[in-house]
């Protein structure tokens, strides 16, 4: 047991073979709030506030949090659909956080996004074949015949029949559309997929199939996933490591098993206790039910001290005054809570 709770240090020694595919350090995405006639800045929303984590090659890293916690902004900033306002994003050894749109173009071949709602993410005026082939056209890859072949191959990969090629998105079901979106994301052979709630717009019966497909593709194509979800139970089987996010900050980060078996942060405890029990066997791993109180606070006016203290079942007086740091609480396990320091002093 590490009794010495030092500030978590993520500056991993960079090794040629073990260097993580993605290294996010102190990433910030602040949005200005403007008001008045002159649009003066009167505040800011810290949608992503100093987030650091790695995605290793071939692994699935999940970001879990309630709606409004900044997880989608985090994913889109990493995919450079937004420009970060601070921190760094190293992808494959190269900082991509400040690249111009032109310099990003080759990076976009490597990082692709699968969006939450496939109805909105597929252009209703384009046929499936054109949607899936678009990345090839944009990057000027292959002849017409080669593109057709690639598109047909991709549809097969995501288990869609060939005649879907000529259909429009509105002729497909939600699950089928999401498969098309996945096929489009795979067109350029990326190494990292940002999966932004890839199943939450789908029927429950379809969710499992899409997750199974994603796992299969990961194994076959050597993909790394950054999965963003509000559903902690979804991550249990698919994620290797999990980061729990609250109001723009990482609250806890641990290997999936550790997080489920021995969560250290009160927020993670609450999220875990909110997972409905489906099988008897699961009950054993579940902490006692702790109900989450209240709503997520307004991100433009976050609570003082620990952002979670107004809803925390373990909050003490200091929580509203002192902002906790992320500290090491185990192997590859960090958590942000004042109580970690108190545990230490009790020992």
């Amino acid at each position: 047991m590490s009794s010495d709770h030092t500030r978590a240090d993520e500056t991993d020694s960079i090794d040629d073979t073990d260097e993580p595919l993605l290294q996010v350090r102190d990433l910030e995405k602040y949005y200005p709030i403007t008001g008045g006639l002159l649009k003066k800045q009167i505040g800011e929303v810290k949608a992503v506030d100093g987030v650091s984590f790695d995605v290793r090659r071939g692994e699935t890293f999940a970001i879990v949090g309630e709606s409004g916690c900044g997880k989608t902004t985090l994913g889109k900033t990493i995919a450079r659909l937004h420009a970060p306002t601070g921190g760094s994003i190293r992808f494959d050894g190269r900082d991509i956080s400040a690249l111009s749109e032109r310099d990003l173009k080759p990076v976009r071949r490597e990082i692709q996004v699968v969006y939450q709602d496939p109805t909105s993410s597929l252009n209703p005026r384009k046929r499936i074949k054109d949607i899936v082939a678009e990345p090839l056209v944009v990057h000027d890859i292959g002849t017409k015949a080669e593109r057709r072949e690639r598109v047909a191959e991709l549809l097969e990969r995501v288990d869609l029949p060939e005649d879907f090629l000529y259909r429009y998105p509105n002729e497909l079901s939600g699950g089928q559309k999401q498969r098309v979106a996945i096929a489009r994301a795979l067109t350029l052979n990326p190494s990292l997929l940002v999966l932004d709630e890839p199943t939450s717009a789908l029927d429950v019966s379809v969710q499992a199939k899409v997750i199974a497909l994603l796992e299969e593709l990961q194994a076959e194509l050597d993909l790394s996933y950054l999965m963003i979800t509000h559903d902690l139970s979804l991550t249990k089987n698919i994620a290797d490591r999990i980061g729990v996010m609250y109001l723009g900050k990482l609250m806890e980060k641990a290997p999936a098993e550790t997080l489920f078996d021995a969560p250290q942060n009160p927020y993670t405890e609450q999220l875990l206790s909110a997972i409905p029990i489906v099988e008897e066997s699961e009950a054993a791993f579940k902490p006692e039910r702790i109900s989450i109180r209240g709503e997520t606070p307004d991100p433009s006016d976050p609570p003082s001290g620990c952002p979670f203290h107004p809803r925390c079942h373990r909050a003490v007086d200091d929580c509203s005054r002192v902002e906790p740091e992320l500290v090491d609480v185990g192997t590859d396990h960090v958590s942000r809570c004042l109580l970690h320091d108190e545990d230490e002093s009790e020992m």
């Binding site: 678009e134 990345p135 090629l165 000529y166 350029l188």
Partner: protein
């Protein structure tokens, strides 16, 4: 069968046809839009085959200057001249038939120009936004703040009066309407996730505007195009009537009405029949446009 062989023989081609059938059915449900379509098809047919339909094409200036036949001037409507003849003995029916060509050409030119300028302006203003968008839309607003006919008059007056210059004058005042229409549509479409997805693929702004967004705003442009054809023809005829458009003896409807005005009410047929032609053309395009608007389920203006 391979995917490529399937390309055009798939089940979904059936779906295509099916949805086309559905649109056609909804269109047919509205008899007035069918009337409109019939009128437009008729006008286009008349315009194309005018030399074969008109009994006296030379009276309309076909292959040369309009012929004169003073012996026959101001003949009342009869079997030989169903719409009568004018002060130079020219067959008015033949001239009205040829007038279709001028009016359709004017409408097509004006709207092609208006769409060619207005749509890109609206796309850029809506998608790129920012300072560029503000400047473009403020320029558009300035044009929109003056009634089109008045503005067209202001543009036409300093130019030599001719059909060509009338077309230019109307085209110059027409594009802002398309800019504003497209701008409003783009504002809503650009928030769709597929636009962001396209950016995530690495697509350029030009590509996103013209290949992703434009196909989603074609329906309102089509409807407005149809409704505007009638209006453009009307304004073209107005300029002709005021002497700022086509000059006599061009068989342009507005010009003919202006010429015939001097002979009212005795030679009533001179002005009346070109007027009826304008009425029918404007009505046809409006009915068609209304029908399209209902079928495509879009709002314009």
């Amino acid at each position: 069968m391979s995917a490529i062989e399937n390309w055009y023989h798939s089940e979904s081609m059936e779906n295509r046809k099916e949805s086309a059938r559905r649109i056609a059915y909804r269109f047919r449900q509205n008899p007035l839009s069918l009337v409109g379509l019939g009128i437009i098809v008729g006008l286009v047919f008349i315009a194309i085959f005018a030399p074969y339909i008109a009994r006296h094409p030379q009276d309309a200036g076909y292959m040369g200057e309009p012929a004169v036949d003073f012996a026959n001037r101001f003949a009342e409507p009869s079997l030989a001249h169903p719409f009568g003849t004018d002060q130079a003995g020219r067959d008015i029916l033949s001239r009205v038939i040829f007038g279709t060509r001028y009016s359709l050409a004017l409408g097509l030119f004006v709207l092609t120009f208006a769409i060619g300028i207005g749509v890109p302006v609206g796309l850029v203003a809506g998608y790129v936004g920012g300072f560029t968008g503000q400047v473009l839309m403020r320029i558009t607003d300035i044009f929109l703040s003056v009634p089109p006919l008045v503005l067209a008059l202001a543009v036409a007056v300093p130019l030599q009066p001719s059909l060509r210059n009338a077309m230019i004058a109307i085209a110059v005042v027409w594009w802002p309407w398309y800019a504003r229409l497209v701008y409003g549509e783009v504002i809503s479409v650009r928030e769709e996730q597929f636009v962001e997805a396209s950016r995530g693929i690495g697509a350029s702004r030009i590509r996103i505007m013209f290949r992703e967004i434009l196909p989603n705003v074609l329906a309102p442009i089509t409807v407005k195009f149809s409704l505007d054809m009638g209006y453009a023809i009307l304004i073209g005829a107005s300029l002709g009537f005021l002497g700022l458009g086509a000059q006599p003896p061009t068989p342009e409807w507005g010009t003919m009405i202006a010429e015939g005005r001097a002979y009212l009410p005795a030679q009533w047929w001179y002005s009346t029949f070109p007027g009826v032609a304008i009425f029918i053309a404007v009505l046809g395009f409006n009915l068609l446009g209304d029908g399209l608007r209902d079928v495509l389920d879009v709002e314009v203006d």
